[in-house]
């Protein structure tokens, strides 16, 4: 069912009780939803005066079309997802259409200890009851609270202790709506002790004549000594807008590797990524590459929360901004008083190639412990003239030389991709963008 919302969003959502009652099927979540809605009422929709959103005018994009809240499930034919295949990638496949699992197109990994299914069907699962909506950072982000209040469904993954999935899991998100819709998928992935998985997310946007605005939230939990490799590839479309919140929690001795690739297509992308380190001796790698063209707006907002001692985190975000693209990067590292022996590093490098492209960056260090090593770095600039001259003087055309340089620039990120087929695919995509 759908319920109409008219802007201003904020008033509509907080006063429209019908919007909430639309989701009342899942009774046990009533309390959580109501609390989240109250929290949203306090936070309100972000404006340019909201510090965390000062460079991203989401209101402008929300007002673009008369969006409606959409909860209905749709299905897509097999042909739709055929085009999303990553060549030579040997993986399991999960297909989500507007956040709803479409089982007939999915090839789920089977085996002891693996639970994968619709979130709505697993609200009694131990992982859900223990971890759902427990990441306290979510309560700080108004769109995440909105998602908690109004989400319809999403993907639930739980790996029991000592469970390792042998192949990467490829999640294909299909977003297609016949009316301008605002949809709010909600996912929860729990890796228990010693579990390990590689998860790849891609998306496809068959044009059904309407614009889709997603406000998705993913919570991941990496338990003691577990390891998660998570690749999120955002290749959108002109009729797609996206706010994506990922809230990860790590327990002692765990490893979390997050990759975020934002490639041309979606006019507005905002990624909130937060990692809370609830245990010691963890390793966290956050890698991001954003290549934006035309008047694309890409905003990566990251938060490394060092709560416990002896943790290492590395963050590297690189951006290539073409045409009139706007890039935004915020990287906050918070080291709590107890988090001694923290090593936290962060780097944000940008290539401004378009005449009207711009970049706004806020690398932040907030440190309350003394025995730490923390740093951040930022650069924005151009290809060095010497390098261009070197390539040109060897008979390489200007465009080809640029493509080569962008390839080299993004190599730090693509090289860290541990799935060869995916790495190859990404390199091809980057080359294709630059050759256009």
């Amino acid at each position: 069912m759908t319920s109409d919302i008219t802007l201003p969003f904020y008033q509509a959502l907080t006063t429209d009780v019908n919007a909430l009652s639309a989701c009342q099927a899942q009774d046990e979540l009533q309390g959580i939803r109501r609390e989240a809605l109250e929290r949203f009422a306090v936070l309100g929709l972000p404006t340019l005066k909201t510090e965390a959103w000062r460079y991203s005018n989401i209101q402008r994009y929300l007002k673009e079309f008369p969006y409606e809240l959409l909860y209905a499930t749709t299905t897509v034919p097999a042909a739709t997802i055929a085009q999303t295949a990553i060549p030579e990638l040997d993986s399991y496949r999960i297909v989500l259409v507007n956040g709803h699992l479409q089982a007939d197109l999915s090839e789920l990994p089977a085996g002891k200890g693996i639970t994968i299914g619709a979130l709505s069907a697993h609200t009694q699962a131990p992982g859900f009851t223990t971890w759902f909506n427990k990441q306290h950072h979510l309560a700080q982000e108004s769109l995440a609270t909105l998602n908690t209040a109004l989400f319809a469904d999403g993907l639930y993954i739980e790996l029991a202790a000592n469970t390792v999935i042998d192949k990467p899991v490829h999640i294909v998100h299909v977003y297609t709506t016949t009316q301008h819709a605002f949809i709010q998928p909600r996912h929860l992935w729990v890796l228990n002790r010693n579990a390990a998985a590689t998860i790849i997310e891609t998306s496809v946007h068959p044009d059904a004549g309407a614009v889709t605005f997603t406000n998705s939230v993913l919570e991941t939990v990496v338990e003691e000594n577990a390891e998660l490799w998570h690749y999120n590839i955002q290749q959108g479309d002109q009729h797609f807008r996206e706010v994506h919140t990922t809230a990860a929690q790590q327990q002692a001795n765990s490893r979390y590797h997050h990759f975020n690739f934002t490639l041309p297509g979606t006019p507005f992308t905002r990624n909130n990524l937060s990692v809370a380190l609830n245990g010691s001796n963890t390793e966290t790698n956050l890698n991001g590459l954003y290549i934006a063209n035309e008047s694309q707006h890409v905003d990566n907002h990251t938060f490394m929360d060092h709560i416990m001692p002896n943790c290492n985190s590395n963050e590297l975000y690189k951006g290539v901004l073409l045409d009139n693209a706007n890039g935004v990067f915020t990287g906050r590292i918070l080291v709590h008083r107890e988090a001694q022996k923290t090593n936290a590093f962060q780097q944000n490098n940008n290539l401004l190639l378009g005449t009207k492209a711009d970049i706004n960056s806020q690398p932040q260090l907030e440190i309350y412990a003394d025995d730490v090593k923390c740093s951040h770095g930022f650069t924005a600039g151009q290809f060095s003239e010497e390098s261009m001259f070197y390539l040109r003087s060897r008979g390489i055309g200007e465009d080809a030389a640029k493509a080569l340089m962008v390839n080299a620039f993004s190599h730090d990120i693509t090289d860290a991709v541990k799935v060869p087929a995916l790495q190859h695919y990404l390199q091809e995509q980057i080359a294709a963008i630059m050759n256009n």
């Binding site: 378009g354 907030e366 730490v372 090593k373 923390c374 951040h376 924005a380 600039g381």
Partner: protein, 481 residues
């Protein structure tokens, strides 16, 4: 030999060395902030009508504003109505030489190590001493006058050079810039005015000592420095304040204007009363400092050594409007006990080929909280703009905090911007290395801290560098330096 814990405790507990008060008869306005008091100040200073109107505009803007909430510390409760907005030593007859200055006042300066006498001739420093708002003694005026340099109190400038003041006042920091600037515009008592004529290289370092004295008196200086085409000036500002239990607000405004090919070097050593070890008392240093490189190939350089004040909250900024103009910001900020520093700079690259360089060194000890907050903005016209920023933080002890909040905005693809920030404590290996060579831990820490801030201290004029080094060592001495 002290171990490092004792050293750290020592820093945290060190008492302020310059705490003493001077008894001089004060002419104090009743507490309260309203239009009448602004008219009173203006009348007292015999100001022209336009300046009074400007003050009232500032007051009108102030009334509409609220205290900001974005800062990284808890805003102390400020009762602006409880402050007195005018205090001046009682008018004495015109003085011809230093002998005529109140000996008690001279003794105070002596204690602070400010030699306001013939020694100055040897060191080549002219001093415009501001004692609670009104300038009482000015030296070297004659020599400066010969070269056409105007260096006088703000009040004097309003009387004698009204056109110059009118032309530049509020052009860099408008009366409605921020709440403290608006307050200053409304009630500023005095300050300094400097004008360097075309092509003149000011032969000496100009310096002003600010000193907050009377209880319950906020100080609202206004400094305006104009460097005309092709001129050069180096301006020093140093502060110490006596110990007080009540917090004192200091909301000064400094405006710098550099025309074509001019250069202004502005250096500050700030050592106001930081409050006791529980954070009681201490100065609130909420200052608006901004310079504009109006002309082509002009240059403005800010250097600051901040060791005092309960709260230091300021962002000396540069607007690089002229093509190929240059801005610099060098800063050392030390916090200990419960001191707070939220400081940094803003650099606006507007003209072509503009360059900027930011070096910020923060040292946090005790329960101090030190934040660097800065903005580097490159506009679409600023082709080939260049910025380099480095912010380093040193943490001493586990109860302090150190934060970096840079904002970087680039709207030009030919701009090159680099920013790096690091936070760490003094390496045990470094201390060990020095210990192994017979240098005790205390001296080793001092040596490392000295090396750490050297890049900034080197920017200070020679006379000042010595004072700054002394100040830093007093601040961390018997402790770490």
């Amino acid at each position: 030999m002290m171990n490092s814990n004792e050293i750290i405790d020592d820093i945290a507990n060190k008492e302020y060395e310059f705490g003493f008060t001077t008894d001089i008869e004060m002419d104090i306005a009743p507490p309260g902030l309203n239009e009448d008091i602004i008219r009173f100040i203006s009348a007292k200073k015999n100001e022209p009508e336009w300046l009074l109107e400007w003050r009232l505009k500032g007051f009108a803007a102030f009334k509409k504003m609220q205290f900001p909430k974005w800062q990284h510390f808890e805003m102390p409760e400020l009762d602006l109505q409880a402050l007195s907005y005018y205090a001046a030593p009682k008018k004495k007859k015109q003085l011809n030489s230093l002998d005529e200055v109140d000996p008690e006042l001279l003794a105070t300066f002596e204690k602070l190590g400010i030699p306001l006498n013939e020694q100055k001739a040897l060191t080549g420093v002219a001093v415009d001493a501001v004692f609670d708002s009104v300038s009482v003694a000015t030296t070297f005026k004659g020599k400066l006058k010969e070269m056409g340099v105007i260096f006088c109190s703000f009040g004097e400038a309003v009387q004698e050079y009204p056109d110059l003041v009118k032309k530049y006042l509020g052009t860099v920091v408008p009366h409605s810039d921020n709440i403290f600037a608006a307050l200053n515009s409304a009630v500023f008592s005095d300050g300094s005015f400097t004008y360097i004529p075309k092509g003149v290289r000011c032969p000496m370092e100009l310096s002003t000592y600010f000193r907050i004295n009377a209880q319950n008196t906020g100080q609202f200086e206004r400094t305006l420095i104009v460097a005309d085409e092709g001129s050069y000036v180096s301006y020093l500002e140093g502060c110490t304040a006596p110990m007080r239990d009540e917090n004192q607000l200091h909301a000064a405004v400094v405006e710098l204007v550099a025309l074509d090919h001019a250069e202004i070097k502005y250096s500050t050593v700030q050592n106001w009363y930081p409050g006791d070890k529980d954070g009681k008392g201490g100065i609130y240093n909420f200052v608006t400092k901004r310079g504009i490189c109006k002309g082509n190939a002009s240059k403005i350089s800010w250097t600051q050594v901040e060791t005092g004040s309960a709260i230091t909250w300021k962002y000396p900024s540069v607007i690089l409007q002229g093509d190929y103009s240059e801005g610099e910001f060098y800063s050392v900020a030390v916090v200990r006990n419960k001191q707070i520093a939220d400081t940094g700079t803003k650099i606006h690259h507007i003209g072509k080929g503009t360059k900027s360089r930011i070096i910020s060194k923060g040292i946090s000890a005790g329960r101090g909280d030190n934040s660097y907050r800065g903005l580097v903005a490159v506009g679409p016209r600023a082709d080939n703009a260049r910025n380099f920023t480095q912010c380093d933080s040193l943490l001493i002890g586990n109860d302090c905090g150190s934060h970096t909040f840079p904002y970087i905005e680039s709207r030009n693809k030919t701009a090159m911007i680099e920013h790096e920030a690091t936070t760490s404590k003094i390496g045990e290996d470094q201390i060990f290395y020095l210990n192994a060579r017979g240098i005790d831990t205390e001296k080793a820490v001092a040596l490392i801290v000295n090396g750490y801030v050297k890049e900034v201290l080197n920017q200070l004029p020679m006379e000042f560098a010595v004072e700054a080094q002394k100040l830093l060592s007093i601040t961390l001495e018997g402790s770490v330096g």
